[in-house]
Amino acid sequence: MEIAAPAPAEPTTSTLHKLLRMRETGLIAIILVMFVIMSFASPYFLTWVNMRAMVMAFAVEGIVVVGMTILLISGGIDLSVGSVTALSMVIAGWLFLQGIDPWVASAIAIAACTAIGAFMGFFVTRVGLHHFIVSLAIMVIARGACLLGTGGRPLGLYTLPPEFKFIGQGTIGPIPLVIIIFLVVVLVFDFMLRRTTVFRKVFYTGSNEKAAAYSGIRTKKVIFLTTTLCSALAGFAGIIYMARFGSAQPTFGLGMELNVIAAAVIGGASLTGGSGTIFGAILGVVLLSVVSSSLALLDVSVYWQDIIRGSILLAAVSVDHYLHKKRG
């Protein structure tokens, strides 16, 4: 019988082919093009110091992006990450100034941020509110708590012990520890998200919550956990910032949420859930960072910078979308 249904396509295994089909290939190409252009445009661009400065500028935010990407995949969103990062610094800094060991203080701060995430998760999964509005409220509340805890003034934490500051300022060989921490977080979560059964449930839940629930997945628990994880990672990032800067600033991270979400979306995360990769999101961060750095390095007039930045963002996303669509 010659039945109409077409034969299943040959599984394509060649590495090159695989690479070309990857979601991230377009972005990588765009970033490479920028690198090439910039290395001609500025002799300082491809220097070790510049590269290090560039990575340092996004490394800690990159940790927040990891949490946001996972949350986006599960179908959520979190506008409070900037405030929560600041709150983490403020709590840990404040406790430290009260005489508590900085490691203990940091653990408490991260725990508090995790609790905030759990609180949001509760409102989303039990009360049934939308992530957007819950995290908006928490964004305001957490910022208020920062002000309350500091009286609006940055906490100077110059007295933090050197072994604590090492987290944020130390280097291992030539490489700053911050970058190593960032890479570890990225690699671990990228691996887990791609390969482990636990994190696959995040995709299922975000792709079709009902279908996932029908398969016995406790989707509310999944959403609760991704919401909590995102805040926990923001709290963790706050501690690293604190160690890096030796201070806790109540106004830290204003507007960070849009940057972080943008990075994840540029990297292919869907705002309606179900798809996204850590690798892509980090490429998104890199892209935004390369653009900012390049504009600064080329001494582009500040009055032009935003216009160019926005246009490159739009162009990059369009090109990526086109390439992705073309590959099918």
Binding site: I3, A5, T197, S207, K210, A211, G216, I217
Partner: protein, 506 residues
Amino acid sequence: MPDDVILRISNVSKSFGAIRALRGVDFELRRGEIHALAGENGAGKSTLMNVIDGILKPDSGEIVWDGKPVRISSPTKAQKLGIGFVHQEIALCPDVSVAENIYMSTTNISRSFLMDYKGLEAKARNVFRQLSDIDPSVLVRDLSISNQQLVEIAKALTLDCKVLILDEPTAALTEKEAQVLFGIMRRLADSGIAIIYISHRMVEIFDNCDRVTVFRDGQYITTCNVDEIEPADVVNAMVGRVIENLYPDKQALADKSEDIILDVQGLTDNKRFSDVSFQLKKGEILGIAGLIGSGRSEIVKGICRLDGDVSGDVSLNGEPLDLKHYQDSIAAGMVYLSEDRKGDGIFLDMPISNNVSALKLEQVASPLGLINRELEDGQAERLGNKLNLKCGQLSDSVSSLSGGNQQKVAIAKMLSVNPKLIFLDEPTRGVDVGAKAEIHRILRDLARSGVGIVVISSELPELIGVSDRVLVVREGRIGGVVEGDMITEENIMHLASGLDAQELMA
């Protein structure tokens, strides 16, 4: 033999606001039986299944599992007990692969830390070996509705369950796939699994099931052994009256006309179909048959310019059409009822009346473009009554309706515009016997009054029952045409699969 009973429902009730979907129903399921559940649209079949699966919490009543009373609070719990469920509405994750969808529950309870994608694909390929040949590595979003339905079924078959619930699994399947499914079901039953089978196709119930339970209006009516009764008895119990003619009379010889309503010549999109030519004559109902994925839907969508680039000539009532968008098609009086009700047929979150009016708002609006709610509600009420729509208020959202009633809303939407030509893709998908007969009668009346009717259906008896002529599509081309007494299952199947084509064409 009471210990044979794996699941017993007693006196279960469930209301949605004012709607009493279940009123103290009883139900009993034995090991190793295939137990059909029949009832009109909105009788409460899916609701009961959702109660059994822990998706809905019953207001009152008792569920006894294997002799012990249980509370099933979630699908997870149900899964632990050993209940597998293929839902009436397709519920798959569009962003992940077919293989992962099939093994979602397995992944969920799996103790292994890492995913074994290769293993999943191999296992999935194995499952499909008997069912169809879908590539397990593709994303579900790239599958057609019927293939998605097959994935749903495959998903249930992989479950290690004691009770398997199939809620209208064949609604979008053709005979061939359905037969495969029945074979599998029987094997499962023989190995001791109890199967609840919900369908509006009497033939399937009588050919494949052991017992049948009938619900009407949220109440339990009766349970019988299938070999002790006739289909008419079941229908009678379902609707509370006798339905004499499932299908209306066909076109009388005297009414035959040579006026051509639709003339399609050389329609091609170079991907899914090519060189399609056919005509629809005044007064006749034209059926389109074919295997899953043969391109029936694509051809019809192509005519209406709903999809992609299409070349070829289309004329309606003798006038050549120059269509650019589907809007032009609607303006010309040619409308399409989609096979994917939930995906592109209705607006789930919107009121029933707003759904019915969506195709041509101008009809319920003043010349200035102001919507007249009375007109809008009136239209919905009129068409709803005509189609025997069972609903609460017209302002309720369509999502609160049973599957079959949602389909009626979609049909009402098509009828609302008084079209010159309707393409109906699986029009009675999920619709109960009574309403089906009603829809068929309406179609016949429309055809008689000069409206062109083209019906695509995977349910061969329906095609045979309503069509005056059947076009058989094979691999994107017209495989042949049968007419009059030649419209039989064998002939259609032969043409669809390409056997003896020459012979039949003669």
